[in-house]
């Protein structure tokens, strides 16, 4: 992952904890019934989807029920009754366990809870902002409903959700009408402050900030909770920003300052065309965040900037993992908009989803990837390279730019062929000497 991603991830995660102390703006009483929350602060960009159109949301704006909100890298929202403070964060995967690029939630009406929230993706922090008593949040996550009771004022819980398709070609693409494969989803919950009760219907567990049962892991395969005791909060989360991180956070926020004034599509276009690396990467992230596949694919086809392509692969992999339908949506988009043949479209999807264990143990996989380094389409070349350097780390130093001229690429391909001859698996990486 490139430096920008790393630093922004670090920043976002640092805010995970810093948000604990963030103050919420008071929400005045007597506001309209439809208004269920108000935006306190926006760092970078916050957009909402209004009748299939994306609109920027500013600090002070109200949020109506059923609106999908996407934040990058950070936004703060308070429920209309002032009970819950919600922080939406991005973590690009360095401090947290998953490469979360942006966060997205839908705030719903809740009769018997202070907040009902559909948690779609990313990283959020929920804080009890009541002066006294417990605050209740109903969470809807991938068809599950959980109730989190923040037992006392200032109780704060962080949640991270991440979904990814299993590697290999999904069989559903070959069979029309067959059910799409469900991506595997992991949810992590961490009590940062105070005590909380997690009630998932058939399971309920009392949690508290470290030291105590503070960490919960849930995955949609077994649909079970794993609760872990922590003696203290992970150091990586509570570490404050250094100067570099603070600058990177500021840069990311600056990138999207035009969001309020211009259409998001044109903002993304400008960002992707920029000579500044941070701009381009933020542009690709926004394209994925607002489902702008054509722009995201254009980032993957950026002949000039390898860093943009590299980042676009991660954004696309995240985008595919969001729901079972995404794979077919991309397939259809490639066929209709990019005029790809079914085999070409499937190749791209296979390359985005990655290779199964069995395929990784098959020498033909590596020959296939090396062959694809010379493919006529730049995105395919980039995807092949992306996998090769990961599956065969011994070749990481081989210079290969998927956007370079054929002759230059040919030299890289020859080196890859020399490293992984036909019928062979990549050479094992030398383990470092213990001494």
């Amino acid at each position: 992952m490139n430096t920008m991603c790393r630093t922004s991830a670090v920043l976002a995660c640092g805010y995970f904890v810093l948000c604990l102390h963030a103050s919420a703006l008071p929400v005045s009483a007597g506001e309209g019934e439809k208004e269920i929350a108000r935006v306190n602060a926006v760092f970078g960009g916050l957009v909402k989807k209004d009748k299939s159109r994306w609109q920027a949301v500013k600090a002070g704006d109200t949020i109506s029920a059923g609106t999908l909100l996407v934040a990058l890298p950070k936004s703060e929202i308070t429920t209309a009754n002032g009970a819950i403070h919600l922080s939406m964060l991005a973590d690009i995967g360095q401090r947290g366990p998953f490469p979360v690029l942006e966060s997205a939630v839908v705030l719903n009406h809740a009769k018997d809870a202070d907040l009902e929230l559909t948690f779609d993706r990313g990283l959020i922090i929920l804080t009890n902002h009541k002066k006294e008593g417990a605050a209740k949040v109903r969470l809807k996550i991938r068809g599950e409903t959980w109730e989190v009771t923040l037992q006392e004022p200032r109780t704060s819980v962080g949640l991270e959700i991440f979904s990814r398709h299993s590697p290999g070609m999904p069989s559903s693409l070959d069979k029309k009408g067959s059910e799409d494969e469900v991506p595997s989803t992991d949810v992590l919950m961490l009590v940062l402050h105070g005590r909380a009760l997690l009630d998932a219907g058939d399971h309920a567990v009392g949690l508290q900030a470290p030291p105590g049962l503070a960490r919960v892991h849930w995955e949609n395969g077994a649909k079970k909770f794993a609760v872990q005791r922590l003696e203290k909060l992970p150091e990586i989360l509570i570490k404050p920003f250094d100067d570099k991180e603070a600058k990177a956070f500021k840069d990311i926020c600056l990138c999207t300052k035009k969001l309020g004034a211009e259409e998001i599509a044109s903002v993304i276009d400008d960002l992707l065309k920029s000579e500044n690396k941070t701009d381009r990467l933020v542009g690709a992230t926004w394209a994925g965040a607002v489902d702008d596949l054509p722009r995201l694919m254009s980032a993957l086809a950026d002949a000039k900037h390898a860093d943009t392509r590299e980042h676009a692969v991660i954004v696309l992999r995240n985008w595919l993992g969001r729901s079972p339908e995404q794979v077919r949506a991309l397939y259809d988009s490639l066929i209709k908009e990019k005029k790809a043949s079914p085999a070409q479209a499937k190749n791209v999807i296979h390359l985005l989803l990655g290779f199964t264990d069995e395929e990784r143990g098959q020498p033909d996989t590596y020959q296939m990837l090396i062959h694809l380094l010379n493919h006529s389409a730049l995105p395919v070349r980039e995807l092949a390279r992306w996998h090769l350097v990961r599956l065969a780390p011994t070749g990481r130093d081989i210079p290969f730019d998927a956007g370079a001229a054929a002759e230059e690429r040919g030299r890289g391909v020859a080196r890859w062929q020399a490293l992984i001859p036909e019928g062979k698996l990549p050479p094992a990486r030398k383990t470092p000497d213990k001494n």
Binding site: G168, M169, S341, P342, A343, Q344, K346, N347, H350, L351, D357, E358, E359, G361, Q362, D364, T365, M368, H371, L372
Partner: protein
């Protein structure tokens, strides 16, 4: 009152004494000529007696010295023996504390076994590698009279398990040719192509030659290999022309690799054994299977593409047998549960 020197540490006085004291050489030999040293004389008779006494004294001294030397030699010998004994003891200790190569190997093997029993990868299972690692252990403990619980095996499931005679055969077994090779399920990407049809026609002939004559004819062998190579090339070209996607390409080459391994077995001298029933897994329980495989010297071969589930089922059964469900008093260790606990047995995954 304290002495003037009482403030100086004792060691200082010791060191000073060493420096000032006459050296050993001074004490042993007479001093060099000293004009101030008095010369003692006893007269002529006295001198003679002195001479005799000196001789006697010298002789006595000699004996005494010789005896002392003998004692010293004995002491030295004793010391040598002690030293030798000590180094021998040290060597024995070292040896006792250092694992032998065999012990080291055993230790590594047991670590591998533990990992395979608790955390085998899918590839290790479907290639039969995991089962081949567990098998010798089950055989070894069975020889000692220890058996796990009776874990039943589905005979239908067992039909899809490939076995092989030796690693020298390539370790694959005849796999998909077990039933004569006439009704293979070819991958979609190559089915009905002229080369596939050609190969599909040769394979049953080759199997029949082995079954009936015990040996493959050279002509058939050459034709089979040439057609196989042609099919590989065609699949590759199809992928390069993007007529098939990467997933189909890898599936097809995996099928062809498996078929190639099976065809290779046909050219070996032991090929007929695969068809007369000797090289087929048999047993209604894991214990019976283990005994049979051990008696025949068989190993598990990789699965045929599309028949992965029976391999997971067999792996689970072997782990369950080896772990003894934690209730067996035979000494088996309960090593975690099976990899994929399946409610409907192996068929639930397979179908």
């Amino acid at each position: 009152m304290k002495s003037l020197f009482s403030n100086y540490p004792t060691w200082l006085w010791g060191a000073l004494a060493l420096v000032l004291a006459p050296s050993a050489a001074w004490a042993q030999y007479p001093p060099p000529y000293n004009p101030y040293y008095p010369v003692q004389t006893y007269g002529p008779i006295g001198n003679q007696l002195m001479g005799q006494a000196s001789v006697i004294s010298a002789t006595g001294g000699l004996y005494k010295d010789q005896e002392q030397a003998r004692i010293l030699r004995q002491q030295a010998d004793q010391a040598k023996i002690e030293t030798k004994k000590k180094s021998f003891d040290e060597m024995m200790y070292e040896k006792a504390m250092t694992p032998t190569f065999t012990e080291e190997m055993n230790k590594n093997q047991s670590m591998i076994l533990r990992r395979i029993m608790t955390n085998a990868t899918d590839v290790e299972i479907i290639k039969g590698e995991a089962q081949n690692i567990i098998l010798p252990t089950l055989v070894r403990v069975a020889v000692r009279g220890a058996y796990g619980p009776p874990v039943p095996l589905d005979p239908e499931m067992l039909q899809h398990i490939n076995v092989t005679g030796s690693v020298a055969d390539g370790g694959t077994g005849v796999g998909m040719l077990k039933n004569g090779g006439a009704n293979l399920t070819w991958p979609m990407s190559i089915v009905d192509t002229p080369t596939q049809k050609q190969l599909a026609a040769i394979i049953p002939t080759a199997v029949t030659e082995v079954k009936t004559g015990g040996q493959l004819k050279l002509d058939t062998y050459k034709k089979m290999n040439a057609t196989m190579d042609k099919l590989y090339d065609e699949v590759k070209k199809m992928f390069h022309k993007e007529q098939i996607d990467g997933g189909q390409y890898l599936n097809t080459t995996r099928f062809l690799d498996s078929l190639k391994g099976s065809l290779k077995i046909l050219s070996t001298p032991s090929a007929a054994l695969y068809f007369n029933g000797d090289y087929s897994p048999k047993g209604s329980t894991v214990r019976e299977l283990v005994d049979y495989m051990s008696d025949k010297g068989l190993r598990f071969g990789p699965c045929n593409p599309g028949f992965e589930a029976p391999y997971f089922a067999l792996y689970n059964a072997m782990v369950a047998y080896a772990s003894g469900h934690g209730e067996d008093p035979s000494g088996f260790v309960n090593l975690n549960a099976a990899k994929y606990p399946q409610k409907g047995g192996w068929k639930s995954v397979y179908r």
